[in-house]
């Protein structure tokens, strides 16, 4: 493969002829999904494929005294029953720590529990059978003798000396602690006229991907290769981990990811039962399939949030914010999740609190503790909903205390749009944000003044409506600063390989993956634009570690900004290669030519010279007609990683408009607005839909979603009938607006957009509910989800 230097191009993403950048191009992969022709992992079947069902601990904490599998082993269709100790001979345990999270600690986690089960739902044995039904039948025959141990469930007391230590070798139940102090917090609070202090509680919730986690592992001893079909966001990361823990070379492992039925961060982690499935395939020398059923998903898919944040803000009477302080406590279950760790979210909370504002005086403490509940880790918008909710509720509380309009208080304190580069109170650095412009846009879009007037009018009729806001910043396009520097083999860069086929169409192989967000469309738009073909002539290949450039995959809102830029650059490189061939054929200077609409044209006037199909025909079938010594190169690869900035921060502001029924406590979502700035918008429809989908996940957290545990660590609502998710009838229409501040770190200038909606929605709703009730003298609601019961308590009727 030849790497050709880029053309010295004066063209940019936005002025190239026939550019697809900025256009709402429909996604190429949608039609088949509407026809039921998707290829989800749960659809995969292979010859000799066996199915595994896991015996799971009914206790939150228990010693496994014995496992009697005799009856299960002779049950119909059963191939094997395997315990944790037996499987530990095949696959090594792992520890979820990163070196840049100073002091983080965790204990070795096995694919199947050995000796002790540490949460309700942890696998303690595997039953492999010809069918899933037979595996489940035999599972019921496995007799496990447990000794229940005291469960650590309350994060507040997890560090008390009287509380049992979950992993004796660690000495205590502290996973990670971070303290941060910047500016002069004591001086800031001393200068404040008002100090508002409160405690926020964020319920545990979970991703509820529509397709549960699914994996088919196929160890082929004939060619000593492991092929894994997995619904994952990060195929290369998983390739590395499967190889590492099975004692294989990475090239012996192929991870294939086609259609994935929803991810949202749920499918970017290492799951013990998936590692067990891969090990079982190696042990049994045949394909093994595991698809979590919904009851398993609720107790094994990572849970999210579960924070208690004591928080304080200082403000002067004339509306200057003078200091911030937070004390965050979060419970993460018995293990830090591998390999990204369960310390990242709390770390993000510390990074992001106060982020949109100028006030530099900040003190933060975050502690991450172990407990005997399901594991907690990164889910869409990692840390952002917590930090944004805390910051924005503090701002609105402060505004209420000093009698200033909440938008006006923001105007006085948000980082000015002409002050960049700038940094947040934690030291996070911003290249270019647009808080004031997005705020002004939102103000106009929602007719804020009109809504306030209506609010006052309706109160007289006993109708309580509220308006709440949330300004936010979002981490996107991460460099190696996120994971690589901490020792995790998670690629920050991504590659794209573009190749001309024999008819002049192009294939683009990309390291980023399609989770439904539209990566295939965005990659196709970038290649079609920079190379110069109609988008129908671009086929995008994703999700195959044998056949795509090494890359990080899809997480942290990186696919468009990083994968898109790599594809854009690869398309440019292939254009140069093709024009070198065309130059030979046409006896023209390649620099005088361009490719537009699949035709090589004169760059100056667009005169058509020769079709790409003809170039391909000559290069592939009649290279004898090219000059001796000239070799056509019709494949080009480019890689991209952000270099100037560790992260491309985006920003925006959301508003929620709610009506609260003070008789029933019911909150009705009337409207929701979001104005965000993700830099160059490659596909406005896809950005809008990412924002809407993200907002609704935040709305679920605000009003409905919570994993309810009892004091013994039993999940009480682990079904879709009991755990409430947003459905169509409860959701409002969501209006989305944009401000565009491109990053100069890439030619496209695109930043991420996948998590902006989730980052701000929860806080905006909480502010709106409190805004509705404040006139009644209600107690501030600082816990989510906001249930009808909580509303009634707040207004003194509960």
């Amino acid at each position: 493969m030849k790497i050709t230097p880029d053309l010295p191009s004066e063209l940019t993403a936005l002025d190239r002829p026939n550019s697809y950048i900025g256009r709402a191009v429909p996604r190429p992969n949608l039609a088949r999904l509407t026809q039921g022709r998707g290829q989800y992992v749960s659809d995969v079947t292979l010859p000799r494929m066996a199915h595994v069902a896991f015996v799971r601990s009914p206790y939150a904490h228990a010693r496994i005294k014995s496992i009697d599998a005799a009856a299960a082993k002779v049950a119909s269709g059963v191939i094997a029953v395997v315990t944790g100790a037996e499987l530990a001979k095949i696959i090594t345990p792992w520890v979820g720590v990163l070196t840049h999270l100073k002091g983080i600690k965790s204990a070795p986690q096995h694919a199947i529990a050995v000796d002790v089960a540490r949460w309700q739902g942890e696998a303690v044995a595997a039953v492999v059978a010809r069918t899933r039904a037979e595996a489940e039948d035999a599972r019921a025959l496995v007799n496990v003798d447990y000794e229940e141990l005291p469960a650590v469930t309350d994060a507040e007391t997890a560090l008390d000396p009287a509380t049992p230590v979950i992993h004796a070798a660690l000495g205590d139940n502290l996973c990670f602690e971070r303290r941060h102090e910047a500016g002069d917090p004591d001086g800031g609070f001393a200068a404040a006229d008002e100090i508002v202090e409160t405690t926020f509680v964020f319920g545990r919730h979970t991703g509820v991907t529509n397709e549960p986690r699914a994996i088919v592992a196929d160890w082929n001893p004939g060619d000593e290769r492991l092929t894994v079909y997995q619904g994952t966001q990060a195929p290369h990361m998983m390739q590395n981990l499967f190889a590492k823990h099975l004692g294989l070379e990475e090239h012996q492992v192929r991870v294939l990811t086609k259609d994935v039925g929803g991810s949202f961060g749920i499918k970017v982690h290492t799951y013990a039962d998936e590692m067990a499935t891969v090990a079982l395939s190696k042990l049994l020398r045949r394909p093994v399939k595991f698809v979590a059923d919904r009851s398993e998903s609720f107790v094994t898919d990572i849970h999210a949030r579960d924070h208690r944040v004591r928080a304080k803000i200082g403000v002067t009477r004339d509306g200057a914010i003078t200091a911030w302080e937070i004390d965050d406590l979060t419970g993460i279950g018995p293990y830090s999740v591998y390999p990204r760790t369960s310390g990242i979210e709390a770390n993000q909370v510390v990074n992001l609190v106060g982020g949109p504002y100028t006030c530099p005086n900040y003190r933060a403490l975050a502690r991450v503790v172990f407990q005997n509940k399901n594991v907690m880790c990164q889910y869409r918008a990692v840390g952002h909903p917590i930090a944004t909710h805390v910051t924005e509720s503090l701002v609105e509380l402060a505004a209420a205390h000093i009698g200033v309009d909440p938008l006006e208080l923001r105007r006085r304190n948000l980082i000015p749009d002409d002050a960049y580069p700038a940094q947040g109170p934690s030291g996070i650095r911003f290249e270019k944000l647009s808080h004031h412009e997005t705020l002004a846009h939102l103000d106009a879009m929602m007719n804020y003044a009109g809504l306030r007037a209506e609010q006052t009018r309706l109160r007289a009729q006993g109708i309580y409506r509220g308006i709440g806001f949330a300004s936010f910043v979002e981490v996107t396009n991460p460099s190696a600063a996120f994971y690589g520097i901490g020792g995790a083999r998670i690629s920050a860069q991504d590659g794209a390989t573009v190749r001309l086929d024999a008819t002049g169409a192009v294939f683009c192989h990309t390291g980023v993956t399609e989770q439904g967000q539209g990566a295939e469309a965005v990659i196709a738009q970038c290649v079609a634009s920079s190379f110069g073909v109609p988008i129908e002539r671009v086929r995008v290949i994703t999700g195959d570690t044998d056949n795509v450039p090494y890359g990080g995959g899809t997480w942290a809102s990186r696919a468009a900004g990083i994968g898109g830029e790599a594809a854009w650059q690869a398309g440019k490189a292939l254009r140069a290669n093709v024009l070198a061939v065309a130059g030979q054929v046409l006896q023209a200077e390649p620099k005088s030519l361009d490719i537009r609409g699949s035709i090589v044209v004169d760059r100056a006037d667009g005169r058509e010279r020769i079709g790409l199909d003809e170039i391909a025909r000559i290069a592939y079938f009649r290279p004898d007609t090219l000059p001796p010594g000239f070799q056509a190169e019709l494949v080009a690869t480019r890689h991209y990683v952000p270099k100037a900035w560790p992260f491309a921060f985006t920003n925006g502001i959301q508003a929620s408009h709610v009506e609260v029924d003070i008789e029933t406590g019911r909150v009705t979502l009337l409207n929701h607005w979001c104005v965000e700035d993700c830099g160059t918008v490659i596909n406005p429809q896809l950005v809008d839909e990412q924002v809407r989908g993200g907002v609704v996940q935040g709305l679920g957290a605000a009003l409905f979603e919570k994993c309810e545990y009892d004091a013994r660590g039993q999940l009480l609502n682990g079904t879709m009938a009991d755990y409430l998710v947003p459905l169509a009838a409860e959701m409002p229409d969501i209006e989305v607006g944009h401000v565009v501040s491109p990053t100069a770190d890439s030619e496209l200038g695109a930043k991420g957009a996948g998590e902006a909606g989730t980052a701000g929605a929860t806080g905006a709703v909480a502010n709106a509910v409190n805004d509705a009730l404040r006139v009644l003298g209600a107690r501030e609601i600082t816990e989510v989800p906001i249930t009808p019961e909580a509303v009634l308590r707040a207004v003194g009727r509960g």
Partner: protein, 197 residues
């Protein structure tokens, strides 16, 4: 383990099927695992999420709450069938144009539910449903990706297009729809479909 099995015959997407199934086998497992019709999805197995929605004798049912043996002698239609017949081509097109699906896992069920709403309103002469009515009807189908607005937009657009085209549709087809029998493919040929929003 219960060993009861039963031989059943039924029509699936117009094809005659004769199979022996365990009594406990759900319709969606039967469709997916025995017949390879993997367009119907399994999301919760307790009738909440709607990913397994299929049509049984013209009425949508949860494939996870219906046993295969209950379908003996019945007519089952799945997303594969209604796709091949062209019955929901306008809805599918509108979903694509409006990006009313992201991961697509809920989409087959969502489309069948939407089609049920539109077809029933067409039959009853109820006119274009409000957005609230569309949202209410689709509230048995869980979508984690879109936030629903694009889906509501797509269904609303098709409702307007279909009812606008209603007067020009062949009388035969209207009568047969009222009788509950969908028109055959050859009868459908030439039917105007203007579903693009």
């Amino acid at each position: 383990m219960i060993e009861y099995s039963r031989s059943i015959t039924l029509t699936v997407n117009g094809e005659d099927v004769r199979e022996t199934v365990e009594a406990r086998t759900s319709l969606v497992d039967f469709l997916r695992e025995r017949l390879g019709l993997t367009g119907s999805h399994v999301g919760c197995e307790q009738g909440v999420c709607g990913a397994c929605t299929v049509r049984l004798d013209g009425v949508t049912v949860r494939g996870c709450l219906t046993l295969a043996v209950q379908c003996a002698g019945s007519r089952v239609e799945t997303i594969e069938g209604v796709s091949d017949s062209g019955e929901i081509a306008d809805l599918q097109d509108a979903f694509v144009r409006r990006n009313a699906l992201q991961c697509g896992f809920c989409t087959p069920g969502m489309l069948l539910s939407a089609q049920e709403l539109l077809a029933s309103r067409e039959r009853a002469g109820d006119g274009v449903p409000s957005r609230e009515a569309i949202r209410a009807h689709l509230s048995g189908n869980y979508c984690r990706c879109t936030g629903y607005q694009a889906i509501v937009d797509a269904v609303e657009a098709v409702a307007r297009a279909r009812l606008g085209a209603r007067a020009s549709r062949p009388l035969l087809e209207l009568e047969e729809e009222r009788a509950g029998r969908p028109p055959l493919e050859e009868e459908r040929a030439g039917r105007p479909r203007s579903g693009a929003p």
